[in-house]
Symmetry: C2
Subunit: 137 residues, 2 copies
Amino acid sequence: MEALRGAGLKATSQRLAILRSLSGDETHPTAQELYERLHAHFPTLSVATVYNTLSALTRMQRCRPIELGGPIRFDPNVAPHDHAVCELCGKIRDVAAAPEAERRRRRSLAGFRVQRVERIYRGRCADCARSAQAARQ
Amino acid sequence: MEALRGAGLKATSQRLAILRSLSGDETHPTAQELYERLHAHFPTLSVATVYNTLSALTRMQRCRPIELGGPIRFDPNVAPHDHAVCELCGKIRDVAAAPEAERRRRRSLAGFRVQRVERIYRGRCADCARSAQAARQ
DNA sequence: TTCTAAATAAGAATGCATCTAATCTTTGCG
DNA sequence: CGCAAAGATTAGATGCATTCTTATTTAGAA
């Protein structure tokens, strides 16, 4: 709330609504999804505002865009962590950041200065693994 | 060449040209880039054919799509490996696959069955790191 | 050579994201 | 409080990347 003002931005109702809707959301929504969700209660909202606000929030470090192929998703969890993506249902889960040992790897890329490492675990979530197995019987 | 026939596909000149242009290419081209490159020598080629062929080649395991944000790129190197992306010039470099120790991590994601792990190293390539430093002086 | 299934070409259609220009709002100030 | 100026919002246009559609062409088998 004052986070916006602190960043020198005006605290508009649109921005507050988007921020409120995203924070605590663990589904990693796309801009479209946020737009649709909010549009019901806020009929004049436009997609451009959603995109603008999301990039402002990203600049302020209040969320982080995640690119996994397909539309960009947004994660309100800005602490370092990785993602697990289900190949079947597409759900995305946060995963604890890789351990320190793994980070040391960044030194080994001769010449290339690694700034951050993204890790994407692709596979099957518990639900889908279960139903795929059920279908096989 | 017979790879196509072996997969039950017709060996058209378009497919051969695309396959030839992609194999050994370390620049990770997009479909558009391949199209433009080939279009000069093959004026009737259409983008749809490039996309179709690339997905056929992907199915045959002769290349692999890499999604890093922006247009999809294609890598003729199908051996397991990771990628380093320069934030400044956008160049993508192949990087040796993470060591075995790191792979064991796939067990630790309760419930989630990891099939593969993608790692993206983001930072600055040697050239850009050098010129950024030069500019700073 | 002829036939058929498969592939290609060209452009339309779709989806995501950004841009544009006109119209509002917030907010600082008198 | 009321105003002005800067900044935000809106709606729609625009720009890419990708997929789809349909008519035409071609590879490869008989």
